[in-house]
């Protein structure tokens, strides 16, 4: 049992839980995306912790971190683009209002 690893992973777990809660509970697209950011941040914490305490020689861990950061960035970009399109069309990015399509 590596204490540091456990602590780091627990923090990752906490961030994941908060992010999940946010993604599920928020009504606003932008707020949901914040939740997603938190989940991804949790993944980052995990990856760095695993690299640091278990596999410092495996640089693919750091690589993975870079990739995940990229993912965070591009998701934000496209997310905001879609938010703009939605806002232009409906004047709001509330998810509650988006239920024309169902069934």
């Amino acid at each position: 049992m590596i204490v540091e690893l456990s602590v780091a992973l627990s923090i990752g777990a906490g961030l994941f839980a908060v992010g999940l809660y946010g993604a599920l509970s928020q009504t606003n697209l932008v707020m949901i995306m914040m939740g997603i950011e938190l989940i991804l941040a949790a993944a980052l914490v995990n990856l760095v912790a695993f690299w640091r305490y278990l596999h410092p020689d495996a640089m693919s861990g750091q690589m993975f971190v870079l990739i995940v950061m990229t993912v965070m960035a591009v998701e934000m970009a496209v997310g905001f683009a879609i938010a703009i399109a939605r806002f232009r069309s409906r004047g709001s990015v509330e998810m509650e209002e988006a239920r024309e399509l169902k069934g």
Binding site: L29, M63, V74
Partner: protein
């Protein structure tokens, strides 16, 4: 390095094609973009033949050049070309039409990355790349429905992607590597294996629209242009299934993934068809039908590593599914989205009607159509792997499927007095339907050229 690049010729061709298309798009020459895309995709397809028999990996195992990825190219590249034709027929003259074409090519590139991925990072990038492109394509019309669909798709996709990444991080912790080929180390460490596996099921399950991660699909297809829905229901789905196969091939069976996948398969097939039964919007109906079809794919996944038929099954059904599903959506583009639009359609347009019958019967799995050959392989593989119960469920669902598809056929040939619609069908659409119908019809007889 040079050797590696040789094996990547199709991907590189496609990437270069996409760049050139972007340039042409900047010049606001949509027709040129389309032509370039078609030429590039055709070239890439032909170039694939040179590396089809290879069974190797490149870049330290991160990307696999094997039967699965080879056939993925042979299936997805022409499929994308057909989707380009459909999109041209639907979106010609619209603003930023060329962006759609180049995005389609880029997403296909992502799909190829998924289908050949040998590394978790590539898996993540593939999911994100195909996802982002798809969100944008769905939102392309930028009206209420499209933006709503895009928004939902975005939320669902991003959350699923994020969960997948979080789960995959544990696999890295467990193996110290991001390569699938190291997953064997997880033998006897069920928790770690399960964490990553659930993550993969979530991420790829959402991509392939498996129950319970399918909710976005009907809404997204409904809000999107029909041609985009056709593309999404086919290309990214198959890529996800292939990626599934790549991951699970290396995961020890003792983690219990076959049963989990089998349960997902059963739920997917059943829920897909049961819900499709009560749809009145043909696009949504086809959306649920393609959810159910994804369940059939999983019959091949569960047999991975046990039955030699498993990989051929996934490939053959993939090829069949591309042809018949694209064809069905193409007909929807002509007939209209509502089931009422189909009333008497077979009498108004006998040839297209007949084509639709072929597609629907193939989707049901009636021989000698291509869909049947695919299902045959899948059933065989699953029985071989001891999943007889799953095959029985699949067969029962086939009867349900008949109910689903016959509703369209019955409507098509019901007696509704109406003027024969003589409006000409645009040429790209006609070509696309012709190709898909020929493939659906003929490949049953020439299934011999498919892999073993």
């Amino acid at each position: 390095m040079g050797r590696d690049l040789f094996f990547l010729i199709p991907e590189l061709t496609l990437a270069v094609t996409a760049m050139v298309m972007l340039v042409a798009e900047m010049l606001r020459l949509p027709r040129l973009v389309l032509t370039l895309g078609l030429v590039g995709l055709t070239t890439a397809t032909l170039l694939t033949l040179s590396v089809l028999d290879a069974n190797t990996t490149v870049f330290g195992g991160t990307y696999r050049i094997d039967m699965l990825s080879g056939w993925a190219k042979l299936i997805l590249l022409p499929g994308t070309a057909l989707a380009l034709l459909l999109a041209r027929a639907e979106l010609a003259g619209q603003d930023r039409e060329g962006s759609v074409y180049s995005l389609l090519c880029l997403i296909t590139l992502g799909a190829l990355m998924l289908a050949g991925s040998g590394d978790m990072m590539l898996l993540v990038l593939g999911v994100v790349l195909t996802g982002l492109g798809s969100f944008a394509l769905v939102t392309f019309p930028r009206d209420d429905a499209a933006t709503e669909a895009g928004m939902k798709y975005l939320v669902f996709g991003s959350v699923a992607g994020a969960v997948m990444i979080y789960g995959l991080s544990f696999w890295f912790g467990g193996t110290g590597s991001t390569l699938y080929s190291e997953l064997g180390q997880l033998e006897g460490r069920p928790l770690i294996a399960a964490a990553g596996l659930v993550a993969v099921i979530v991420g790829l399950g959402y991509k392939a629209a498996l129950v319970p991660f399918h909710f976005w699909a009907p809404d997204a297809y409904d809000g999107a242009p029909v041609s985009i829905a056709a593309y999404l229901s086919v290309i990214t789905k198959i890529a996800a299934i292939f990626a599934f196969a790549q991951v699970l091939r290396d995961l020890p069976v003792s983690t219990g993934w076959p049963l989990a996948i089998a349960l997902v398969a059963a739920a997917t097939m059943t829920l897909g068809y049961v819900t499709a039964l009560v749809q009145t919007n043909v696009v949504r109906l086809l959306a649920f039908s393609s959810i159910a079809q994804a369940g059939y794919f999983l019959l091949g996944i569960v047999a991975l590593g046990v039955s030699p038929l498993a990989l051929p099954a996934i490939i053959v059904f993939g090829a069949a599914y591309v042809a018949m599903n694209l064809g069905a959506f193409a007909v929807v583009m002509i007939a209209g989205r509502s089931l009422d639009d189909f009333a008497g359609f077979g009498r108004r347009r006998p040839v297209i009607g007949l084509a639709m019958v072929v597609f629907l019967l193939s989707l049901t799995g009636i021989p000698p159509l291509f869909g049947f050959v695919g299902k045959l392989y899948l059933f065989g593989a699953a029985i071989d792997a001891g999943f007889l119960w799953l095959v029985v469920i699949a067969i029962l669902n086939s009867v349900l499927a008949l109910g689903v598809y016959l509703r369209i056929i019955v409507a098509m040939y019901s007696r509704v007095e109406g003027q024969a619609n003589t409006a000409p069908i645009s040429r790209p659409l006609a070509v696309a339907i012709a190709i898909t119908v020929i493939v659906t019809l003929a490949m049953g007889g020439f299934a011999g050229i498919l892999p073993s």
